[in-house]
Amino acid sequence: MMIPVIAYYVIFQYGPMYGAIIAFKDYSPMKGVMDSEWVGLAHFQSFFESYYFWRILKNTLILSLYSLCFEFPAPIILALLINEVRNKRFKSIVQSVTYMPHFISLIVICGIIKDFTNSGGLINTFITYLGGDGQAMLQKPELFRSIYIISDIWQGMGWTSIIYLAALMNVDQEQFEAARIDGAGRLRQIWNISIPGILPTIIIMLILRIGNLLSVGFEKIILLYNPAIYDTADVISTFVYRKGLLEFGWSYSAAVGLFNSVVNLILLVLANRLSKKFSENSLW
């Protein structure tokens, strides 16, 4: 019974891992993976020495760190706020509305972003209304990161908050009772009871996040970016995509991809170890 499942994993998950050896070869489609020439670390070397290396590494890291700093806390804050709402109706309205963008496809989201940020778009209208200058925002390298992060928060915040809301529901209600009797205000209760109560969940989510630090959502970047903003928008995965699939630099691109996977793995192991040491929460 297990045969189809194992076959699937062998072919489509382990197959590519084996195929990754083309990163050490000069792959040519005519010869195939086996018979292509070995070139050792040449592709890695030329990648590390190239102008792109620092640019895409920097962009990837900055975008990841921004998303860690701004995107990660957003659903936690939202969950804490929703948890304080006593009016059931209002609560369910807030939840339903904030979950909604999660269900809109990425293509549509990016279509909307492009439309709203172009020079005559909705956002620019607001800016001109407030006395600023309208501009084609997706042509500005310095604005790309903000657009990326803000739209991500818009789309994902509500949905991710579900996990924290679930965790909040499991916090012992008697503690709130006791705190109230002791005269603790609402903010105090959030700070001293709610947040510690969901801390294990937060840490697990954080570890998972760090393990993916170098895999920023490249699908979205591919849909949004253009050569004018490669300086801030090009990340490792989009580079792999362009070099490999659009320019057919199979081996070079595979080397870059492999570099990405390895760094991710190292980060994950590190994050897990740190967390084990400091908080007794870990993935394994």
Binding site: M1, M2, P4, V5, I6, Y8, Y9, I11, F12, Y14, G15, P16, M17, Y18, G19, A20, I22, V33, L81, I82, V85, F90, I93, V94, S96, V97, T98, Y99, M100, F103, S105, L106, I107, V108, G111, I112, D115, F116, G121, L122, W154, W159, I162, A166, A167, G185, R186, G211, E219, I222, S237, Y241, L245, W250, S253, G257, L258, N260, S261, L265
Partner: protein, 293 residues
């Protein structure tokens, strides 16, 4: 608990409701804007540029163009194919795997689990994956977005956890009656797991509905484009020319704008309409997933 609220409490509540209301508005307004713009007169929308509080000069031309576009229909058809066959395969493979791994007495259970979990944390990368799919001969078929994604490891683990909670005595009883593994899985385990299977179906179906990236690299035949790729051409690459018939350059540009909005509506409305009914199942899925953590 009818104690009088202190001033501080009240301020807190006011701030809370204000912040959340603003949030609701920010989340909702872009969608409302698109809805209004899509049924507005093209010339007005282009001239108006900006905040719409109601449709201006109601006009359904854009929808006519969208529905008159053959690519949209074939996109819907291809997406439907991918969803139906994809989800069937997903459910079949995931429950097979989850069933075997949830049994305690299976040989090599642990190593197989490790073998599977490794794939969540490490992969060979995009290029080798592409070459495998190419090598298997799936390129430029509608199976390309289906077969290589037969199992989502995260879903497999969720399902396994759920199968584990089914009492073993049921299975033993069936065995005594001469049932083999397939009978046990399909006649006993799955019927008892309908709620979680519903969640799985939803998750997989939404993935298939929204997926575009792998279709875009695996499929180059335009007749096989799923809906999302068709929309991408209209929204991202800005090619609406083929859709509006006749008219001068300026007219084309104007109607092009509203066609974009109409396309968004046509491709998003189905999912937004069913979502309120499905929401609780999704939420349940997220919860199950998070408990495993």
């Amino acid at each position: 608990m009818k104690t009088k609220k202190s001033g501080l409490e009240r301020t807190f509540d006011i701030c809370l409701y204000a912040v959340l209301s603003i949030l609701v508005l920010i989340t909702l307004y872009p969608l409302i804007f698109v809805a209004f713009a899509s049924i507005s007169d093209a010339a007005y929308v282009v001239a108006h540029k900006g905040v719409l509080w109601r449709p201006v000069g109601i006009n359904f031309e854009a929808y006519k163009s969208v529905f008159g576009n053959k690519a949209i229909w074939s996109g819907y058809k291809n997406t439907l194919f991918i969803i139906v066959f994809g989800v069937i395969l997903n459910l079949f493979m995931t429950s097979l795997g989850a069933y075997v791994l949830s049994r305690k007495n299976v040989m090599l259970n642990k190593p197989i689990m490790i073998f599977i979990i490794i794939t969540m944390f490490f992969n060979g990368g995009l290029i080798p994956f592409y070459l495998i799919v190419k090598g298997v001969g799936l390129l430029d078929t509608l199976w390309a977005p289906i077969v290589p994604f037969a199992i989502n490891t995260f879903n497999l683990i969720i399902l396994r956890t759920s199968f584990q909670s089914i009492p073993e005595s049921l299975e033993e009883a069936a065995k005594i009656d001469g049932a083999n593994h397939f009978v046990i899985l399909f006649r006993i385990i799955l019927p008892l797991s309908m709620p979680i299977m519903a969640v799985m179906t939803l998750y997989y179906a939404v993935d298939k509905w929204n997926g575009w990236f792998y279709s875009s690299i695996f499929i180059s035949d335009r007749d096989l484009f799923p809906l999302q790729l068709v929309i991408r051409e209209i929204l991202i690459s800005n090619s609406t020319e083929g859709m509006s018939s006749g008219g001068s350059g300026n007219d084309l540009y104007q109607i092009g704008e509203t066609i974009k909005y109409a396309t968004i509506m046509v491709s998003t409305l189905p999912i937004l309409m069913v979502y309120p009914y499905l929401q609780r199942y999704f939420v349940k899925g997220v919860m199950v997933g998070s408990i495993k953590g």
